[in-house]
């Protein structure tokens, strides 16, 4: 069984994800005026159409290509030794510390702690009518699922197929799909929490909600 408290402590010990931005191809690197410890913006806008902070420019064959931050966070390292030199593809240029938000932490923990039931193919998914009714009235956590239970309707091009749940018995703790939107094959549909673990998980969720200090 997963030790959730330990997982939380681990995440707490390093409350960020580090991302290293590497050279996409060979070229001469020029760093933008950024400094270690300073904040950078990630892509923004409704469609992520506004690019993040400019980190560096890499030029090859007189074609300067800007490299932008992919996540918001703080600049950890700038590999300044490459300034003005010709680098290979994959050379690390800048590393960014992206501090996790509450939701991201919860997401990480839940995905590890819960049993995930995954979509077998790309389709739209719906709960069967009786489950759906229950979910709508009193929330998904009121539904207990057993192995072999008919739980979903898988709908693709008007072909609707019943889908049976496979896995341990438990409550539907998290729902990862939305009506009318396609789910790719292999993506989780629901997260199942075995009844004996419910208490621990709820405790962790509470701890995250109260204790987690967002750095941004």
């Amino acid at each position: 069984m997963l030790d959730i408290s330990q997982l939380l402590e681990e995440i707490k010990a390093s409350p960020y994800q580090e991302e290293t931005i590497v050279a996409p191809h060979t070229g001469v690197v020029t760093f933008a005026p950024i400094k270690e410890g300073k904040r950078v913006r990630g892509p923004s806008g409704v469609w992520k159409e506004v690019k993040g902070t400019l980190l560096a420019t890499i030029e090859r064959e007189r074609n300067p290509k800007p490299i932008h931050a992919t996540e918001k966070g703080k600049v950890k390292d700038i590999f300044r030794q490459y300034e003005g030199t010709f680098v290979e593809a994959g050379t690390p240029l800048v590393s960014i510390r992206h501090y996790l938000s509450k939701e991201e932490v919860l997401g990480i923990i839940l995905r590890k702690a819960l049993h995930l039931f995954k979509a077998p193919e790309r389709a739209k998914y719906y709960f069967t009518p009786d489950v759906d009714k229950k979910v709508k009235v009193s929330g998904s956590r009121s539904v207990t699922v057993q192995n072999g239970m008919e739980l979903f309707i898988m709908s693709r091009m008007k072909r609707e197929t019943p889908l049976h749940y496979e896995g341990p018995e438990g409550l539907i703790y998290a729902v990862y799909f939305q009506h009318n939107e396609n789910v790719d094959a292999g993506q989780p549909l629901i997260g199942i929490c075995p009844p004996d673990q419910l208490e621990t998980i709820e405790e962790v969720v509470m701890r995250v909600q109260t204790e987690w200090v967002e750095k941004e």
Binding site: H25, G45, V46, W47, E49, R60, E61, R62, N63, K65
Partner: protein, 754 residues
């Protein structure tokens, strides 16, 4: 109670003056304020008659100050007057100008588009002892007095579609149409029908509407105004404005503002002045036929005298249009010709009866007259530096073609066609007969040995796979190669992030690949010369009307310099290049809007060249291609001289199509706004080169007017295709082949002109 009402009204008038002159005329406003306050304080101590007298004094003071302020109204003040919620709106006009009306398909916000109001109304006239009810279709934008759901008179495409529908109804019923233009501009939704398409459709249909149309302009904002403003007679309220763009929009362009920045009031004032948007300016330029005087500081709903004069004017305008195409009415026509302002009694048009429905011949004359009227407009707004002898020579050349095409197509072709059709019919009949008669013989001869075997190469031809036609791809060897191909550098495709395209070497990309990314098919913008040299037959391009030159008709500050720069940079005299060319020996007339010349914006010179090209195509019976290398819209610095090109060119295109022409439009790079919402958008056959952007308003304008952000690919060709705006998407490398195919299939195999 009456007195309270009076006070309330005076207060409204004061607020109105305050709003119109924000930050100006403070002394006058303070004076009015103090007098009104004084009146309010004294009110309780006065008797009823004294109250009335005091109120009348203040009322007179208001009148006096209003008249005084009227004298130094700036164009921007007029814009504020027109936008004010106290200004008369279409509902007021319907109530006070017409004798009775029924609103069609609308009940406040419950309407397909509450900003477009349609009403069947009638005007009652008396002739002798007889009373006539004359029905009219009233169509116009309704701003309401600040009603939010009206969207300030910004009409969505379906509102314009509704207007068009009822214009058609009026045409069926043979009753005149009165349109009232009260719009700051059209609402820029790209949908089906998109804003641009619907306006284009409206213009195209209005150009051929077979009933009298009278338009009254109060607030005429560009495309939105044109959607219902194409009329036989255009009247304008004296405090209205008619413009290509709002002064704020012009200021944003002139000041090169970024998103979120605001123009200074001074710059806005200056732009408003330079754009020549007022009624008097438009009357002088000829885009408005007559100005209707308003009371000082603009008409408000309680100005009943104004409504009376408006009624007289619309009646007279309709009468004039009708009598202008009708046969016999010498005295009534004379009565109508008496202009306002002349001494003597102007006739009361309520008492003159003119029947408003027209005979079929008169309707033909009406449409012809409308076309002629618009053809004449804006002639003075472009430069023509041809020498006299060249003009005479070209006039003679045109005349020669007129005569030639009349004999060849109108006289000879008609009879020739009749003979050909008859021969075809007889031939087909004879074949069927011969088949029946000869079938026994064929059966007999077919069964003999050694007969009926197809030749071997025939068999091969029919069964082998066809060969890839290298001619159209030219194996990467193009006749014109972009100068960018000479640079030794690589270029990143904009889709590299999403499609993983590798960097492209410029000589490959612009030389061999014709500006098309090898990995994802993204089309980089290419020079217009690429299209001209690689699409048409070698050496077949012959330019005409190149002397027509873009000018600065309004004397807009700085435009002369910009135009000179553009002329120098491109070597063209305007943003429109017209030429004749051959494609696989199919002769064709092309009008090309080129993006490097001031963004491919359309002004008077471009419009005139476009019209002449369409006329040339009509005369010579050639297919007509509008190749839009890129256009940013109407050239705002030319003001209404630019806007008027929308109806003018649309009419030219319509004349051409109705004469049997084949009109094709091809969009490359970016095409937006006015031209799209008129003479380009009305073509039944529109194609885009892949990666072209096509739309009504750009991102900035949409954000500014609606507050909405639009997705990055909102305007791309595929979106335009799925909205039904264009009919196909072409690869640049196959453009020649596709164009040939289009000419052959849409125009017919041998006859590319109906």
């Amino acid at each position: 109670m009456d007195f309270d009402k009076k006070l309330h009204q005076l207060n409204d008038r004061l607020n109105y003056i305050r709003d119109v002159f924000t930050g100006k005329q403070e002394e006058n406003i303070r004076l009015l304020e103090s007098k009104l306050n004084e009146l309010m304080l004294r009110e309780k101590h006065l008797s009823a008659s004294e109250q009335q007298a005091a109120a009348a004094t203040v009322d007179d003071l208001f009148d006096f100050v209003e008249r005084k302020l009227e004298e130094d109204l700036t164009p921007m003040d007029r814009v504020r007057i027109v936008r004010h919620s106290q200004r008369v709106c279409l509902r007021d006009v319907l109530e006070n100008v017409y004798d009775n009306y029924t609103e069609i398909g609308g009940k406040d916000e419950n309407s397909i588009d509450p900003s477009m109001l349609i009403a069947r109304a009638y005007i009652t006239r008396r002739s002798g002892k007889k009373v006539y009810h004359q029905p009219v279709m009233v169509i116009g934008q309704e701003k309401g007095h600040g009603e939010e759901f009206r969207n300030g008179g910004s009409v969505k495409p379906w509102g314009n579609a509704k207007a068009l529908h009822y214009m058609k109804v009026a045409e069926t019923e043979n009753i005149p149409i009165h349109t009232y233009v009260f719009t700051p501009g059209s609402y820029p939704v790209e949908d089906a029908p998109g804003a641009a398409q619907q306006i284009a459709r409206n213009l195209y249909e209005m150009a051929g509407l077979r009933v009298p149309v009278v338009a009254v302009f109060s607030e005429g904002g560009s495309g939105g105004a044109e959607a219902i403003g194409l009329a036989d007679t255009r009247l304008m309220l004296s405090h209205g404005y008619y413009s290509v763009i709002s002064p704020e929009g012009a200021a944003a362009i002139e000041g090169r503002l970024k998103e979120g920045q605001r123009a200074t009031p001074e710059l806005i004032e200056k732009c408003a002045r330079q754009l020549r948007i007022t009624a008097a300016d438009n009357r002088r330029m000829g885009y408005i036929d007559h100005v209707i005087d308003e009371p000082p500081l603009g008409a408000r709903p309680y100005h009943y005298d104004f409504f009376r004069s408006l009624r007289q004017e619309v009646i007279r305008a309709t009468d004039e249009v009708v009598l202008g195409v009708k046969g016999f009415a010498p005295f009534r026509a004379m009565a109508l010709r008496r202009r306002h302002g002349k001494k003597g009694v102007t006739p009361d048009f309520d008492n003159i009866y003119v029947r408003w429905n027209l005979s079929s011949n008169a309707r033909d004359r009406l449409v012809m007259k409308r076309h002629r009227k618009f053809r004449r407009l804006s002639r003075q707004a472009c430069l023509d530096r041809r020498a006299v002898h060249r003009r005479i020579w070209e006039w003679g050349y045109d005349l020669g073609w007129d005569v030639y095409s009349y004999f060849k197509y109108d006289l000879w072709r008609k009879h020739q066609q009749r003979i050909v059709y008859a021969v075809e019919e007889v031939d087909a009949e004879a074949r069927v007969l011969m088949n029946r008669l000869l079938s026994p013989w064929r059966k007999l001869s077919g069964s003999l040995p050694g007969s009926g075997k197809p030749a071997e190469d025939k068999e091969k031809e029919l069964t082998m796979l066809s060969q890839w036609d290298q001619e159209d791809q030219r194996n990467g060897e193009w006749r014109y190669v972009s100068p960018r191909a000479k640079e030794d550098r690589t270029i990143t495709c904009p889709n590299a992030d999403s499609h993983g395209c590798l960097d492209l070497w410029a000589p490959d990309l612009f030389g061999e690949f014709a500006g098309v990314c090898n990995y994802c098919g993204h089309h980089f913008p290419m020079e217009s010369k690429w299209f001209v040299h690689n699409i048409f037959d070698n050496g077949s391009v012959f330019e005409f009307n190149s002397e027509l030159e873009a000018a600065n008709p309004l004397g807009f500050e700085g435009l002369d310099v910009k135009l000179d720069q553009a002329k120098q940079k491109t070597g063209q005299k305007s943003g429109c290049v017209t030429f004749e060319a051959r494609l696989d020996n199919i002769k064709i007339v092309v009008a090309m809007l080129t993006a490097p010349f001031r963004g491919g914006s359309v002004g008077a010179a471009e419009g005139e060249k476009f019209i002449r090209a369409a006329e040339r195509a009509k005369k010579k019976r050639f297919p007509f291609l509008a190749y839009v290398h890129g256009t940013a819209g109407i050239r705002i610095q030319e003001g209404t001289n630019g806007v008027i090109q929308m109806p003018r060119c649309t009419m030219a295109v319509r004349r051409y199509i109705e004469e049997g022409g084949l009109y094709l439009v091809v969009y490359d790079t970016n095409s937006y706004a006015g031209p799209l919402a008129s003479f380009l958008g009305c073509s039944p056959y529109q194609f885009a080169i892949r990666s072209a952007n096509i739309g009504f308003a750009g991102r900035g304008v949409i954000k500014e007017t609606t507050g909405m952000d639009i997705p990055p690919d909102y305007h791309n060709a595929f979106k335009a295709l799925s909205r039904g705006h264009i009919q196909g998407i072409w690869d640049r490398r196959e453009a020649r082949q596709n164009l040939r195919q289009a000419l052959l299939t849409m125009g017919g195999r041998n006859l590319y002109y109906r």
